[in-house]
Amino acid sequence: MFEKIEKFDKIRVWKGEKTGWHRYTYGIAGEMFFRKLMEKKFVAGKCPECERLFIPPRIYCEDCFVEIKEFVEIKELPRVYSFTFLFKDLEDNLLKEPEIVVFLKWDNIEGGLIHRLKEVNIEDVNFGLVVEPVFKEKPEGNINDILYWRPKK
């Protein structure tokens, strides 16, 4: 039914691009979380029904589906819940030293944060390692206000 293409210079492509960009607000819960982060504090949302805490906080508990109005400061430090070592950058170049990406969780709190781990020997990275944040001098209200995490001193 279709004509056989014998000359490949007859295969045509049309090139184009998707233009535009995106601007995201942090939302009601996100605004509060990052404002507190600028003060070097971590807050969790507390569900009035199941009483679980959530980080990052949200304005609803997705299981009870009720509004969350209570936000509490978390003073404890999180632990490494999982980790991975990156040896190459996005362009496939070998990194000088491996980058460590960790998933951090606080005890008895739902959720957690993905971030960088530094000032540590690779051999010492393990599940349960307690870590502390190193903050940027001038916070801007985003996740990179934490420069990285390191083992608690």
């Binding site: 998707k18 607000t25 939302g27 996100g30 949200r58 997705e62 299981d63 589906f65 509004e67």
Partner: protein, 392 residues
């Protein structure tokens, strides 16, 4: 046709419609869904399945936006489905929710519609333009207004409708929108025909006041089976008919003056509802009105007026909210009077029919008795019609 279960609507919820909302898409979805559950007197534990509608991912700027929204829409750990037919999505979601229950498979279904268009910068136009064919159309330097103004000119010319008459739709809907609690700031108002016709020309014959705006917002409806509904309410509102139809995307090969696909969708819904004479049996209607002429175009496609007659009826006040002998059309204020967060705008129309039939539309309540109403949405490449009929 026989379906195992009749389907009732138990509650509706909306957020305000806004040019820029602070809430994230998830937060908007939650607020609307929670409100709908509250009106229904239910909790999330009563919900068996969730349907979510949102237009292209590129508006919210979240890839796989349906999955992203799942928890905010109440879909966490539940059978969850996202569907999408562009502007037709708001009503299409209700149709999808309907067959979840009509099939007998679920007792209840929460339908959520969300859109946060303000995320798309510098203007959502860049996303809209992607609807055009990338080979034969986009290289011409298209914008979304073209396709509407081309269709509007065709409609006006075939039926010889003056611009001033089409402006009456914007006048009516923008005035109705003054009474809607979710109306986007700066949209509703008491405009004169002159102001509407003489507002800035966007893409002739479309002027600025004949176009709906970019919006953020969400809406939700709680649907339930007859067995379930009768346990929680004495006066359920029923989904009596649903219909949908999609025409070819070769839009330059169709005569744009008449939306045949809307007619097919409407006929399907009327048949299901056992409606023989829609002009007598439909008491209030919410046709999709992203542009002023679209309301007239759709009223004709819905067979509520003969071809070319909707504008004449408009001049006589037949579609006014306080009509006693006509059919109130867009008593909510519609997309022109409330705002147009695409998928959420279509759902807002179903919510309006729900409240109108229930008799709780407040200041917006139609003057005549309302036992049955119809909501319709439209979208894709001048291509899809989606229809829902609600009744007592």
């Amino acid at each position: 046709m026989h379906f195992p279960q009749k389907v009732a609507v138990l509650g509706a919820g909306l957020t305000k419609f806004m040019r820029r909302a602070q809430e994230t898409p998830k937060e908007l979805a939650f607020e609307a869904a929670k409100m709908a559950l509250d009106e229904a007197g239910l909790t999330i534990d009563d919900i068996d399945a969730v349907v979510l509608v949102t237009a292209p991912d590129a508006f919210d700027g979240v890839h796989m936006n349906g999955e992203y929204l799942a928890d905010g829409a109440g879909g966490s750990k539940k059978p969850y489905m996202r569907s999408f037919v562009g502007g037709g999505s708001g009503v299409f979601g209700i149709i999808n929710g309907w067959y979840h229950i009509a099939s007998g498979h679920f007792r209840t279904c929460l339908v959520v519609a969300e859109e946060k268009m303000s995320s798309s910068m510098p203007h959502p136009q860049g996303t809209f333009n992607a609807i055009y064919d990338q080979f034969t159309e986009r290289p011409l330097g298209v914008n979304l207004l073209w396709i509407f103004s081309l269709e509007m000119n065709r409609y006006m010319s075939v039926h010889k409708v003056p611009l001033e008459t089409i402006a009456l739709v914007a006048k009516k809907n923008k005035k109705n929108g003054l009474d809607h609690p979710c109306t986007q700031a700066g949209i509703a108002g008491d405009y004169t025909v002159e102001e509407i016709v003489n507002s800035e020309i966007m893409c002739w014959p479309v002027t600025r006041l004949m176009v709906s705006t970019v919006s953020d917002g969400a809406g939700a409806l709680v649907l339930a089976s007859e067995d379930f509904a009768k346990k929680v309410t004495d006066k359920p509102i029923w989904i009596e008919g649903v219909g949908w139809c999609l025409d070819t995307s070769y839009w330059t090969n169709r005569d744009l003056y008449y939306p045949k696909y809307v007619e097919y969708a409407a006929r399907m819904a009327y048949d299901m509802a056992g409606i023989k004479d829609p002009r007598k049996e439909i008491h209030v209607v919410e046709p999709y009105d992203p542009f002023a002429y679209k309301e007239l175009h759709h009223l004709e496609g819905l067979l509520l007026a003969d071809k070319g007659e909707a504008p004449k009826l408009l001049e006589k006040g037949f579609w006014d909210r306080d009509t006693e002998t006509g059919i109130p059309s867009s008593p909510s204020g519609g997309l022109l009077g409330v705002g147009n967060p695409i998928a959420a705008a279509g759902l807002m129309k179903v919510a309006e029919i729900f409240w109108q039939v229930k008799g709780t539309a407040g200041k917006r309540q139609a003057k005549r008795e309302v036992k049955r109403g119809l909501a319709q949405a439209w979208g894709d490449l001048m291509q899809v019609g989606t229809v829902v009929i609600l009744g007592k």
